[in-house]
């Protein structure tokens, strides 16, 4: 038989064979293979780095899992750095493992996230909304100020704009998007661009 285990909205995608899934709102992340996440380096243990990804265990990242890394040419990763990578091993029985290269060996945007910027945490539901194709929130924000944005599936977002004040404004809008409706958001952005 079929058992529903989480509460949420039942969604249906008619394309292909059709798919049904339950869309639930959570804040706690559980590592899933293939997810792109932002991790914080907590320790260097020999050849692997330990990263905090917000799950129940720290993930491991080998120093060879970067583009162009060899035994002689090690990546410059310090404790406290932010890394954007994806999971290659993530199940309930083993410690999760991350890499910063994709299957062809290219980094495709993954790796160490640069200096400055601001990291904050939101719920997983908001992340899925932001990562949906043609997300209105991101388009409207990009008309406000230019900024760099990294979204991790573990609920973490990193933002960097030209000045600290602009960065904080974008952070506050993204955090508030969770509870605002579309009209309230448009009003808030109109007020800010008017200033």
């Amino acid at each position: 038989g079929l058992l529903v285990t989480t509460c949420g909205l039942l969604r249906h995608r008619p394309g292909g064979g059709g798919a049904y899934w339950v869309d639930s709102q959570q804040k706690r992340y559980v590592p899933v293979k293939g997810d792109h996440v932002i991790g914080i380096v907590t320790a260097k243990a020999g050849d692997v780095f330990r990263l905090d990804v917000g799950g129940s265990e720290p993930a491991s990242l080998s120093y060879l899992a970067f583009e162009g890394a060899t035994k002689r040419n090690r990546p410059n990763v310090q404790v406290g750095d932010l890394i954007y990578g994806q999971f290659v091993v993530a199940n309930k029985d083993m410690e999760p493992e991350m890499v910063c290269i994709d299957s062809s060996g290219k980094s495709s945007g993954m790796g160490i996230i640069g200096q400055d910027g601001f990291l904050f945490k939101v719920s997983l539901g908001l992340i899925r909304k932001l990562l949906a194709p043609k997300c209105e929130i991101i388009q409207e924000l990009s008309q406000l100020y230019p900024f760099e944005l990294v979204i991790g599936m573990n609920g973490r977002i990193w933002v960097k704009a030209k000045t600290v004040q602009q960065t904080l404004i974008i952070v506050n809008i993204l955090e508030a998007c969770e509870y605002m409706t579309a009209e309230q958001r448009k009003q808030a952005l109109a007020k800010l661009s008017g200033n």
Binding site: L3, T6, D23, Q25, R28, G55, S56, K92, T181
Partner: protein
Amino acid sequence: SLSPGDTSVLAGLYGPAEAKVSKELPDRAALEVLLRPKVGLPGVLERSREQLLRQTCEAVILGVLHPRTAISLVLQVLSDAGSLLSCCLNAACMALLDAGLPLATLFCGVTCALQPDGTILLDPTAQQEQEARAILTFAIASSERKVLMASTKGSCSVEEMQQCLVAAQRAATTIFQFYRDSVRRRYSKC
């Protein structure tokens, strides 16, 4: 935060998080329940209630999906005007729902007070609890209204217990409808 009448309990759920090596279980999640009374330090009564809550929650949480992790449930009593244990059970279930933890079934808590003349009162106040001959608390599951936990204080006959159980199962339907409405309100904002 859940309050039937004037009894109010605040529940917070954390997990699945990293477990201490001494507490982790190799095949399932380790559940820990902490019940803090409104005044004073937690005593023996709180400890026994914590164990009842823990065993009920362990029966519904699918712990095998998260081995070697720890799930912590913290309950703070804000006000107590009777039926405290069933209020804690309801708060615990809503916290589990809100956190999105995988559950096999929902559960709710119902308290019955058996008065000296034999009538059954549901969700008694503190005054009614004092006067009652026996107080029975049941944790009822949402699938087929099965009994997950039964706790009795005082003495009653087997038939009276059966009658209280039937009344509690009927009352459980109202509580599950309340869960559904609360969750619907929450998801309507998405």
